[in-house]
Symmetry: C2
Subunit: 545 residues, 2 copies
């Protein structure tokens, strides 16, 4: 059987536009004489529409678009992800489904059986689970169709499974000769290798080929990396779609190709590509043409500027230098080197005149209290004020530059450096920001070496260094990784890293700064546990270890 996998980048809610993409892919498939054309999970409305699913008109419009697509089909099969509603006396009756059409109508519908409801996933909020899994005969094959999570509960692969049911095993037991999985799987570094491993074990054990089609593009904070995969019945990866881009590929189950290995690139390369794709898609889908970044002379804003140049083009990136009395000479000159390396436009706007004026006006209200964090925050907020004014005046998309380490411990100013539409590198620890910057410089200097070499500083008071307030980043990031991503608690972390007092302080800071993260810009997700939608902690709480 010849299957065309259409790896598209849908826009959430844009049912009309997505329908056209599906139609175009289907017509291309016919031209290429394939048997079946397949599209990702919820291709018709984008993944994930969240509470749009609760709107009756939204579901009606999806249903109408699905019917229209079905009516266009001839003998070639078409499978796409859609929302299907069934009248049921109990429950929602709303399903996340794969719809198979040919000969002018919907011939078969398979609902999703396993509804992920962890991390960024809330599918039980919206959908009912399929009650059964059936194969469907088409052009001599018994198709075993499943949707994303359905294929992630294989007893041969997982030590501990999350669900009792195994819909794919059920399809195999029913004689499936070809597995189809339509998917929308958000990117995290390492995930692609995992997908390949798991799917390879599954297809090899069950001796059935698999076409696994993914979407691509980004939806606010979630990046979808594409890389659709086709396995033969020996568990060998035969074809793989482009990463971070739309693609169209044909899988001929009778063809024998060399195995594709190395599905994952190195960390630095993958993360840059993911973030560029995430930033670009946010801008494209929101109508922003130009990016704005406040350039501090530090590593974070330098890396974000590089990513913005890749996403918007150097002609469409504008940076602002906003030195204060505490800014070092180097901050300006390093920024100028970066501007020259990246060939972008820039301007310098000092914050001192406004800072002085604000202090003068507020002086009576400060009751003679000495300078403290207030004045540090003021400087950061004046910068935010400038950047937002430029963004308002010239319709720039302001990119937020905070990293994951800062966001974790609250080393950032609300309404100051946290201003912006999208937090580009807020899922990279500070040490990873350095790692990526060094990688960028592997052939020639892009990020000025001095920015990489100097000690990180917020430059908000004389001779300030990050390490005055925080543990060294090497240690901090190890603590954070164990706490945030490995779900370890104080005892295990201290056992491994020592420094009990520091560890205790860091965990407390993470817990106490939930209020800042509530008001943070969405953060592009590149790890399995990012700040944002997938990590939900109470703001007011008193969990003491």
């Amino acid at each position: 059987m010849k299957i065309a996998l259409c790896q598209i980048n849908p826009i959430i809610g844009d049912i009309e536009g997505n329908k056209i993409k599906i139609k175009e892919g289907y017509l291309k498939g016919i031209k290429d004489k394939v048997d079946l054309v397949i599209f990702p999970e919820l291709a018709i409305c984008g993944y994930h529409p969240l509470d749009l699913v609760e709107k009756q008109e939204f579901r009606d419009k999806i249903n109408q678009a699905s019917e229209e697509l079905a009516s266009l089909t001839g003998s070639v099969g078409l499978i796409f992800g859609s929302i299907v509603e069934e009248y049921e006396s109990v429950g929602r009756g709303v399903y996340n489904s794969a719809v198979l059409c040919y000969d002018s109508k919907v011939q078969f519908v398979q609902h999703k059986t396993l509804l992920p409801n962890y991390d960024v996933f809330d599918e039980v909020r919206y959908f009912e689970a399929a009650k059964e899994n059936r194969v469907h005969e088409f052009r001599g094959e018994k198709l075993g169709i499943s949707i994303c999570e359905d294929i992630w509960n294989d007893a041969d692969y997982w030590k501990h499974r999350l669900y009792e049911r195994d819909p794919v095993q059920c399809l195999v037991d029913s004689g499936a000769s070809l597995l189809i999985n339509i998917s929308a799987s958000p990117y995290a570094f390492g995930r692609r290798e995992e997908r390949k491993e798991m799917l390879s074990v599954l297809t090899k054990t069950d001796k059935v080929p698999l076409a696994y089609v993914c979407c691509t593009g980004a939806q606010t904070d979630l990046i979808f990396d594409g890389a659709s995969m086709c396995f033969n019945s020996g568990g060998v990866l035969q074809k793989m779609g482009a990463k971070y881009a739309e693609d169209y590929l044909i899988f001929d189950t009778s063809e024998k190709l060399d195995e594709i290995t190395n599905v994952e690139g190195c960390y630095e390369k993958e993360v840059i590509n993911a973030l560029v794709s995430g930033l670009k898609d946010y801008a494209d889908k929101s109508g922003f043409k130009k990016a704005l970044i406040g350039l501090s002379g530090g590593i974070d804003s330098a890396l974000v500027t590089y990513i913005a140049v890749k996403a918007f083009g150097n002609d469409n990136v504008h940076v602002v230098l906003m030195p204060s009395e505490y800014s070092s000479e180097g901050s300006i000159s390093d920024s100028k080197d970066l501007i020259s390396n990246l060939e972008i436009s820039s301007e310098l706007i000092p914050i001192q005149p406004v800072f002085e004026k604000v202090k003068e006006v507020l002086n009576p209200s400060f009751n003679g209290l000495s300078e403290d964090i207030t004045e540090e925050n003021l400087q950061s907020r004046i910068r935010g004020l400038y950047l937002m004014a430029l963004s308002n005046k010239h319709n720039y998309m302001l990119c937020t530059t905070g990293n994951k380490s800062e966001m974790a411990v609250g080393y950032a100013t609300l309404y100051g450096d946290m201003c912006g539409a999208l937090a580009v590198i807020a899922d990279l620890y500070k040490t990873e920001v350095y790692q990526v910057a060094r990688y960028l410089n592997r052939d020639k200097e892009i990020i000025p070496q001095n920015i990489i070499d100097k000690a990180p500083s917020a430059e908000l008071r004389p001779d300030q260094k990050d390490e005055d307030s925080l543990p060294p980043y090497d240690l901090l990031d190890k603590i954070l990784l164990m706490y945030l991503e490995e779900y370890k608690e104080i005892n295990e972390i201290v056992e491994k890293l020592g420094n009990e007092q520091i560890v205790r302080k860091v965990l407390k800071l993470v817990d106490k700064n939930e209020f800042k993260r509530k008001q943070a810009a969405p953060a592009l997700r590149v790890t399995k546990k990012a700040f944002g939608y997938g990590r939900r902690f109470p703001i007011v709480q008193n969990w003491e270890r």
Copy 2:
């Protein structure tokens, strides 16, 4: 049987503190010679701990505290909500449970069967559903114990049910002679009446008395209004706990009392009490002693100031007047009247000097473009800058003053008037803000009449009125109510309200301003559909009707 209902206000995560509250209530019950002492859902850790549940150490500490409580028990029964973990080969094995202890140990555990996973609830994210519901014999009664949602699926009450299983019916069928429901049900106006109606039908139909114990206090944005209820087997409400406060009440199932009616107060009174309780608890649980409000001379900040005075006491509320060149004379004098009525401290800090300085500094960057929304936002952001500086310097809790109508259509400035820890009235439409203000003035003038009478204005440009940019609030709020809370779409709204062009514009504004709300302060919830955790829409999307 004599049952003590302990309506407590737990702190999320404060297992030690909550354990002490449970112990104290139990000892009081012994003194009062009751048979059984009952506490709300998840009383041991507060509702809802969200992702804290995913921490093994958190669950272990809860288990340890539960064991400690059990070991303290004598012949009097103790029921409290806890998290119970069971080793299971598939799934999480974590349950939201009611634990019944006596004679020094845990004697019986009933897991929650129906896990709400809509609006603000994500329980499937954390818990497995009970596999069975059993009655437990204790002191001659067959106890039918259930947890919150378990009792909300009664076939006699609901036209369309969400769940197949009916755990309470199952308990009744198993011969339950007394129903116990431990609950944590967030406040929304009208919900209490609904609870009473539904529970009355249930107890009357099933001919079994019910003790329904709720928690009180607020957890960030969610307010729990207490009002625990006891019904006799004829469906008659016999006892009710205090509203918005901790309480302890004894229900003697053999006693016959007069029916309690009028469980819900009038809208204005309920909402004020709810918001005061919400603000007070946020401050108490976060350690804030003083509130700060930017007083514009408009109705929103006036009402928030009144609520803050009720929550913090007038000695602990400080307001700032920050007039601009566009502020009317009346704004100042009306604010002064309010300050005098409420006997609070205040100061006046003009924004003009800083506004001028910022415009001067940014002038070259504005490329001669004429004044627009940028300058309006600048003024709002300078006010935010001032307020945050005072909050930082004096440790004030800054209260955000935006209403639901503004938040809906994005008529608010990010990092400007949206600054603050908690949005106090962001779940009240503008027309409701007026309604509540009028109610406050029913006996004497608290909110200066002029504030109520004048046309609402942001005063950010000459002669600006809200109605220049927005439809009249009477119409706007009707559209918003239908769209946000009744889930109606364009056709139905227009059919009812006409004004197609306006309706279309309003819905578009609501959809497009998700990015602002993502970065908004948590909003105290008093309706069934508030902005925040319970309403989840994609930021980047293109749903077109």
